[in-house]
Amino acid sequence: MVDIYWRIGTHGDQPSLRQRVASRGDWSPTGPGSIAPGLRDGGRDGYTYLDHMADVARAAEVSGFVGGLLPSFPFTDDPWVAASALVRETRSFRFMVAFQPGFLDPFHAARISATLQRVSGGRLVYNIITGGGGPEQTWWGDPVAHDDRYARTGEFLEALQGTWGTAPYDLAGRFYDVRGASLPPDLAAQAVPEIYFSGSSPAAIATAGGYADYYLSWLEPFDALREKFAEVRERSATLGRRPRFALRVEVLARETEAEAWAELERGWAQVDLAAVNAATGGDSVGAARSRAFVRGPVRTPRDMEVEPQVWGGFHLLRGGPAFGLVGSYAQVAARLEELVEIGVDSFILAAVPHLEEAYRIGSEVLPRLSVHKTGYVGHPGHPTSPAAPAAPAPIERNAS
């Protein structure tokens, strides 16, 4: 069985891939048709983007997703704020919070996390990002040099787990100075969240191996993934570990394959083909990864289909990674099953618009997966349920 997550965007959403306009949230001017905030009687209606995020979380929860990833970038809203505000509006849904060790010290991160575990009944999951260095890192006020980043991540995770108890914990580290830190018993009793670890380089594996529950990657052509997984397995084996893999996959699924490609065609009209062929279209990371696999000149969407159903042009139609699966419900489900055979243990799926597509993928694709574990399990620790026991049950770690 695999855990299947959805994504809750932290930078607005488009109503479709047909036009690259984010009318959900306030990253575009609020006008007729805007949602959260919208217009009412000539002024803003008082709703905020968080209200739309709440709708996406509820849609994904009822549709069978176990939780949602909340990404974090300089231009986005913050995942901790959203997760802390929304846990009590959902029942079993897990919030996967993306963050970098440079943002908080490990003891403070443990206190925040344990409190969120306590009030949510154990529904916090980490997406630990080490950060790539460069201008984005100095933007965040994080001066740690690139080569030290994984060392810092390792020290952070060691200290976070060390402080997560009632016994005083000390660490005279390179990055953190911890003396006699501990959690009160009610917080120490909470489970440490599962860790989805971004990064799978040798340095990442050496650091994360003892802590990561999953290595999280973006979808790429399947052979590239096979190669990456094999390398991680080999390197982990020398450290005596067996890695697990999670994959972030964009999906565009319709009743028939023709309908799915027709949907892409409608958005294709706005794509600057000259820029695509000069490899500068879309955001730079997505464009670079895409061009590493797309052969020959690009004229139609299918020119970016690097293997059946694997399309490398999503970055041209919305912000984010390049690769995703395009096809009929049955085709997309079959390819996801294939990815499980390659070694994927958990998915983070996403599609634009996130709200409506959560319902669609939940009702049309998830039921076609033999490996799908349903999201709603009637969590006994739900804090607002009158029947809930006083001590919330932790989420199962390393569930298979």
């Binding site: 607005g12 306030d26 990253w27 008082g46 905020t48 983007y49 968080l50 300089p74 231009f75 809203d77 913050d78 901790w80 704020v81 959203a82 802390s84 505000a85 929304l86 846990v87 009590r88 509006e89 440079g102 943002f103 908080l104 010290d105 490990p106 003891f107 403070h108 206190r111 925040i112 344990a114 409190t115 969120l116 306590r118 009030v119 201008p135 100095t138 933007w139 965040w140 006020g141 994080d142 001066p143 200290a159 005083p168 990055f175 953190y176 100075d177 911890v178 003396r179 006699g180 830190a181 009160p184 009610d186 917080l187 804090p383 009158p386 029947a387 809930a388 026991p389 006083a390 919330p392």
Partner: protein, 295 residues
């Protein structure tokens, strides 16, 4: 001399105070929060309590569950990065109509800190100055660069939907020279621990802030009763307001006239006493402070 209308805040519980079977502490907070909201209080404070729940989780949940309350989050600056703290605050201001406040925890050794650690009071206040300089810098500029001992930023600054938001109303505490100097420069509200200190230091601190409006506040326990025989006699009057509704209203009106305009009122049990203060004490204060009324 006229003063702003007084603002009344109450703390939120960070530890289980009632042991309700089948309900956890979040439910206690939710009910106390509604009492403060319906009772017309100006705000609530989520304390940094190492023996209890963490303040940011408490604060964001409280903001989501209220419409009017300012939610003041106590922020331990030793344990975080000012850019990230400001970024979280920007989302909170967007989501909750600008109702987030900050109260910095500056002068404590703390069980953990990012390096380099600040071991003396002078170092801690130097770090606080850097923290606020950076937090305000990325908030208001789009090309912010800062090279300090504790914090460094290159090319920082919030853009698009994260720009042009109200900075969290800044509460600072303490009575040391360093604390008062930091407040004179940065604070919107300086919250003292007891009345004598507030009355002794408040006027000079407001003068030191110059043209910048700086409110003086005090944290107090409150025991208010309708009739004199109901009032307990065993409580220290320097850190507590103890008396009948009429007595306390008169005392508060005097304090407002003396320039103390923010009150963090701690009364137990929280929910019931919040209702009591809202119904009996605040209306009397409002009648006695013509400046615009209590809220």
């Amino acid at each position: 001399m006229s003063h702003p209308a007084p603002r009344f805040l109450v703390p939120l519980a960070t530890r289980d105070e009632r042991s309700w079977p089948g309900f956890d502490i979040a439910e206690q907070r939710a009910q106390a929060l509604r009492a403060a909201e319906l009772g017309g209080f100006a705000g609530v404070v989520a304390a940094d309590d190492l023996g209890g729940d963490e303040a940011s989780v408490v604060a964001y949940d409280a903001l989501r569950a209220s419409r009017w309350l300012e939610v003041v989050q106590e922020l331990p600056i030793s344990r975080g990065n000012p850019v990230y703290a400001a970024k979280q605050a920007a989302s909170a201001q967007r989501f909750f109509d600008g109702r987030l406040g900050w109260q910095l925890v500056v002068d404590e050794p703390g069980p953990s800190q990012t390096t380099p650690p600040a071991r003396t009071r002078a170092e801690r206040y130097a770090r606080a100055t850097e923290f606020l300089t950076v937090a305000r810098g990325v908030w208001h500029d789009t090309e912010f660069t800062f090279e300090g001992r504790y914090h460094q930023v290159v090319g920082g600054g919030f853009r698009e939907a994260l720009a042009d938001l109200p900075f969290p109303r800044l509460h600072l505490t303490g009575s040391s020279d360093e604390a008062l100097a930091l407040s004179a420069r940065f604070a919107d509200v300086h919250l003292f621990d007891d009345l004598d200190t507030a009355l002794a230091h408040g006027p000079a601190l407001r003068a030191a802030a110059g043209d910048r409006p700086l409110e003086i506040g005090v944290a107090l326990r409150v025991v208010a009763r309708e009739h004199r025989p109901e009032v307990p006699r065993t409580i220290d009057p320097r850190t507590a307001l103890v008396g009948t509704y009429d007595e306390l209203a008169e005392r508060l009106a005097e304090l407002v006239a003396a320039g103390i305009t923010t009150y963090l009122l701690d009364a137990h049990p929280r929910i019931e006493e919040t209702y009591r203060i809202a119904e009996h004490l605040l209306p009397r204060v409002r009648d006695l402070t013509p400046a615009g009324g209590a809220r």
